[in-house]
């Protein structure tokens, strides 16, 4: 066991400062500081507020992770850090910190892709990922379907959202329904007490969209449809059945996500579907994916909710995979790349 690499991961791409430590695929520590409360009144993440919070949280979060794992920086074999995609100023705090730790502790540093890390985190819960696999990544900033041939080197984007991300749709609809930010958890809860009785649109699922957008998503029409429906009710002076709206909206999102993910598995002859990103915490998405996949012999892997949202453990998990695969580390002039493409797993 102890000859497996001990890898530390740093995540600062959005509003969570995360430091995780893994040995091989065993999670040893997952320390997190969030600035989410500071952004709540703005209804979305304010980049400069997030960056300031990362600077303040970096050292204490690192200390908590080291204490939790019972290791020191000298014990670590490599340091991985999210170098993109994400908010430029926020990423830069983590990247500069990672390099500071790497230079001081004389360790290699790996700049890694945040989205690939959302896939890699599943190895901490379910062991090595069978390759090829299909990954569905759904968060506040992204909604993508990927073909994962080789998590250390090759990820092929199959499709992504052409407008809002799935989590963004949850956040916007939640605001419309007077729920707090982030909107995913309150919608998930409200939907449990509601019925999916309203037929909201399923973006890019029509026959005419199959040629150009078979594996792409669109959620902005759905968000608008929910807004119109709620407005019409309010104008008519009728009460808005919040729980039913939440359930119907959630069903529309999960229906499209799971149908396209399974379609991608079948087209590529892949029997493993891994779901990651904050929206993977959604209870309906998990249940529907399981139900539909089971029917066609596909195995669904979804990490536990705490590992689905942004954290340092996912970065450490990808770093550990890269070290084990013999991938070379990044150079010390490693930049933060807010638009890092999915085809780059590390730089």
């Amino acid at each position: 066991m102890t000859d497996e690499p001990l890898v530390l991961g740093i995540e600062t791409s959005c509003d969570e400062t995360g430091v995780g430590i893994v040995r091989g695929t065993t999670l040893l520590a997952d320390a997190l500081a969030s600035s989410v409360d500071l952004h709540a009144r703005f209804g979305g993440v304010v980049p400069e507020v997030a960056s300031r919070a990362h600077l303040e949280a970096m050292v204490p979060t690192m200390q908590r992770a080291l204490d939790e794992a019972g290791v020191t920086l000298a014990d670590v074999d490599a340091i991985a850090v999210t170098s993109g995609p994400g908010l430029a100023g926020a990423l830069l705090v983590g990247v500069a910190a990672a390099k500071g730790y790497a230079v001081a502790a004389e360790k290699p540093v790996y700049g890694v892709n945040h989205l690939a890390a959302h896939v890699a985190v599943d190895t901490l819960e379910h062991g090595p990922l069978p390759e090829p696999a299909i990954a569905l990544l759904v968060s506040g900033g992204h909604s993508s379907l990927l073909l994962v041939d080789d998590l250390a080197g090759g990820v092929t984007p199959l499709g992504s959202t052409i407008d809002d991300a799935a989590g963004e749709a949850f956040d916007k609809v939640a605001r419309l329904l007077g729920m707090p930010f982030p909107g995913g958890p309150p919608i998930d809860r409200a939907a449990r007490d509601g019925q999916a009785t309203i037929a909201f649109p399923r973006g890019l699922t029509a026959a005419k969209d199959q040629a150009a957008h078979r594996f792409d998503f669109s959620f902005s029409g759905l968000k608008t449809a929910v807004a119109r429906w709620v407005e019409a009710r309010e104008r008519a002076g009728e009460p808005v059945p919040v729980n039913d709206v939440a359930a119907s909206f959630q069903d529309a999102v999960c229906d499209v996500l799971t149908a396209k993910a399974i379609d991608a598995c079948r087209q590529h002859g892949v029997d493993t579907l891994v779901i990651g990103g904050g929206v993977a915490a959604n209870s309906r998405l998990r249940a529907l994916a399981e139900e539909r996949a089971a029917k066609v012999g596909i195995t669904v892997r979804v990490p536990r909710p705490k590992l689905c949202t942004d954290n340092g453990a996912m970065v450490a998990a990808l770093g550990s995979h890269l070290v084990a695969a013999g991938v070379r580390p990044s150079r010390l002039d490693l930049p933060a790349d807010s638009a890092m493409p999915l085809t780059l797993v590390s730089v």
């Binding site: 304010v46 400069e48 956040d171 010390l332």
Partner: protein, 221 residues
Amino acid sequence: MLVLVLDTSTPAVTAAVADVTPTGHAVVAELRAVDGRAHGELMAPEIDEVLRKAGASVRDLRAIVAGTGPGPFTGLRVGLVTAASMGQALGIPAHGVCSLDAIGGVPGQVTLVATDARRREVYWALYDQAGARVEGPHVDLPEAAVERAAGATVAVGDGAMKYADRLGLEVRDEPRYPRVDAFVRLAAERVRAGAPSEPLTPLYLRRPDAVAAGGHKPVLR
């Protein structure tokens, strides 16, 4: 005692190794690249190289001295988080020094020190004839800075140079950026005393542009 000096409060990305002795201090090696948009890329390789130039290893360092600004936020944070993370990893104290103090006053003159704050403003402070800071740091339009900097007879710093024609003061070319020697001098007592690490709080001086929701894209990416 070897110390590492880091400052990213201006377009000059500075890394240096200095020796603090019981009675004095000397700069052993110093590197400075000027690029206001690449602090994140330049900082770590510069540290690596300046240690090599000084013939030292990170393990020889006994303290870190960092410029706390004021300076443009994104770049400023690079130096501070690097200093804090290195201090933590090495188990050595990190000390902060106001970066304008490391430009400092012209001896014998009341000096306005001003650096470029972008958005047509300057970060500034006023120093008396003995070199003590008597006003600031603040952020203002150049004209407002001069008006508030009562008694200044000379101005220095890249902000003073940029707005030289609007200050109505003699502007000198040097020092243009914070000086390593001054950082070491200003932190030397703390280094010698083995003072504990301080939180390296950036002198932002401006509130974040908080783009409130409503009409804007709520999740800014």
